[in-house]
């Protein structure tokens, strides 16, 4: 295995004070990361937070203006060619050749990675099979759907079975079913021993996949930890209640305060909402309401959205996301 030759096999990514400026726009403003081998690390942030720029520096595409980054102990600037042997990059925008067929793409990348003609052909067939693209092997990539393109893109990153894989927003714009498939693939990669760094705009996705999450905003890491730690810091779930009788509102809120030990507020739609750190408490809450004879018209438990996490962490909301909507729109046209 290639990892036996690296300087530091236990830490996949180690970055200190990474900075990248575009003009006077600080796209990445002092990012530190430490990612242990064999884990899934999620970088969570809204559009324009600096996720792609950070990945580009870690994958040798961009030179940092300041700071250092090491991949398995090898410096991205001084040992770029070694780092490139250790990583696979699936960019945010299809990093495959639209003009060529799926099979030709994988063949070319295989040849570039040093495979013989026969091996490159075999590897290409194997990956197409693995990613359910065998039927489309001869079709030009520009005729692919968004989901197929992403799968091919990921397949292309796995030709040399690199120990570290970067996935830049691997599921943005995918329908729920394709997203689930992508999640399964990512989990399988890690089960097979790879380390994955993925970026996402969805808290839900980071929560489902990542062992640790860094939340970034305006080029800075504003929170870091396990999904549990992060969610606990903003409340793991919020019960939303609508009462049969509005006159009970005040009493209900007092009960919430007593049971959950937080202040509830009333949403625009007239629901009573309170963040809660322990889901077990929902039983106590409902019992307390029953005992007080307060009847419920509607009850649900909501997990916090990225926007709420953001609001809690930064005090400002995520900016409107034009690009994301545009991408989803494109997906639907395909």
């Amino acid at each position: 295995m290639i990892l036996s030759q690296v300087k530091n096999p236990s830490v996949a990514v180690e970055a200190h004070g990474l900075v990248k400026k575009f003009g006077d726009n600080l796209a990445v403003n002092g990012v530190d990361l430490s990612i242990p081998r064999g884990s899934i690390y999620g970088v969570l942030g809204p559009n324009g937070a600096g996720k792609t720029t950070a990945i580009s520096m870690l994958s040798t595409l961009l030179k940092p203006d300041a700071g250092t980054a090491r991949i398995f102990g090898h410096e991205v600037l001084k040992e770029a060619q070694i780092v490139r042997r250790l990583i696979g990059l699936t960019g945010q925008y299809a990093s495959v050749d639209e003009m060529l067929s799926a099979g030709e793409n994988l063949f070319i990348f295989g040849r570039l990675l040093g495979l013989s003609r026969n091996d490159a052909r075999a590897k290409s067939a194997e990956l197409l099979e693995e990613f359910g693209l065998s039927q489309a092997a001869k079709r030009q990539v520009k005729k692919f759907s968004g989901g197929m393109r992403r799968r091919l893109d990921l397949a292309a990153s796995l030709i040399a079975r690199p120990p570290l894989i970067f996935l830049d927003e691997p599921t943005t714009g995918l329908d729920p079913r394709t997203r689930n498939q992508m999640w399964q693939t990512i989990r399988r990669l890690v089960a097979e021993g790879s380390t994955v760094l993925l970026t996402t705009q969805y808290l839900d996705e980071a929560d489902q996949l990542a062992d640790r999450i860094a939340v970034i905003d305006h080029g800075k890491v504003i929170a870091e930890g396990t999904p549990g730690e992060l969610k606990a810091s903003v409340g793991i779930a919020s019960p939303e209640l609508r009462l049969m009788n509005k006159n009970n509102d005040l009493e209900a809120r007092q009960i919430l305060k007593r049971v959950l030990n937080v202040d509830a507020h009333i949403s625009n739609q007239g629901m009573i909402i309170a963040p809660m750190s322990d889901p077990e408490l929902i039983t106590d809450l409902l019992l307390a309401l029953r005992n007080a004879n307060i009847r419920l018209e509607e009850v649900s438990v909501k997990t916090p959205t990225l926007d709420e996490v953001f609001l809690a962490l930064t005090g400002h909301e995520t900016e409107p996301d034009a690009e994301l909507e545009e991408e989803v729109g494109m997906e639907m046209k395909n």
């Binding site: 290639i2 994958s59 040798t60 770029a80 990093s95 639209e98 003009m99 990675l113």
Partner: protein, 266 residues
């Protein structure tokens, strides 16, 4: 299977790897041509149309009749079409470098120069098409080169070598240009004087003095004379060597400029 991937971790790229990577990138260029043969429209249409057009347009006026004009005009059109054919590289490179796939190339442990070298290499097919079509058109119109098929082959090698050198000018435009359209514009500003202000259609002695000076100095004029001597009389004369010199000068200026600008971008 896994074993065959070179597993030794080294930060250097060997010469043989550079050659292999460049050949693979050239193969990619050929695959693209296979998917979109329209890319070859310029190198097929120009030799055919120009040969027909200019021969019948100027033949009577300049050489008395079409038959006598062919040994003069065919080398002229060949040189002109070869240079026009080498322009496409710039736009191709610009478009390629703007695409997502280029990010992947940059993240692979390959020779940095391979995408550029591969694109230049793949264009050989375009130059071969130009050469074959121009002489085939000439043949159909009654041209029988004095040096025979051997002379034609030698000329083929000469013009392809020349195009490899001039294509660096356009590759440079492609690497530094901002958009494909601006690259196209700059390239055309280079191509027209180079190809038309030459001895392609008329003797330079008929030109006014400034134009005459430029046309005499223009390496394309030397290329055309060299082709004429080689293919009509089987002679390698002074112009042959001046052509090699001119091409060498272009190469030694533009190759380093292009590579420097290119490496800075990748």
């Amino acid at each position: 299977m896994e074993k065959s991937i070179e597993m030794r971790l080294s930060n250097k790229t060997s010469f043989s790897q550079t050659v292999n990577n460049s050949l693979t990138m050239a193969y990619r260029g050929l695959l693209k041509v296979r998917h979109t043969p329209e890319q070859l429209l310029d190198v097929t249409a120009q030799p055919i149309l120009f040969t027909l057009m200019f021969t019948y347009l100027f033949g009577g006026a300049i050489a008395g009749n079409v038959h006598n004009y062919l040994p003069v005009i065919i080398p002229g059109i060949l040189a002109q079409s070869i240079i026009t054919g080498s322009v496409a590289i710039g736009v191709q490179l610009r478009e390629d470098m703007d695409k997502g796939v280029f990010d992947r190339f940059k993240s692979l442990p390959i020779a940095r120069i391979a995408p550029l070298a591969g694109a230049l290499l793949a264009d050989t097919i375009r130059y071969a098409i130009v050469t074959i079509l121009t002489f085939a058109m000439g043949y159909l119109m009654g041209y029988r080169p004095g040096a025979g098929i051997a002379g034609v082959m030698e000329v083929g090698v000469l013009v392809i070598a020349f195009a490899w050198c001039t294509s660096w000018i356009f590759a440079f435009a492609g690497v530094v240009g901002r958009t494909a359209a601006s690259v196209q514009g700059i390239s055309m500003m280079v191509v027209f004087p180079l190809t038309f202000l030459s001895n392609a259609f008329v003797s330079v002695n008929t030109l006014p003095s400034v134009l005459k000076w430029f046309a005499t100095f223009n390496p394309v004029s030397h290329l055309i004379t060299a082709i004429r001597e080689l293919v009509n009389k089987d002679v390698i004369g002074q112009d042959f060597w001046l052509t090699i010199l001119g091409a060498g000068v272009i190469l030694s200026i533009f190759a380093p400029l292009t590579i420097r600008a290119y490496i800075r971008k990748v």
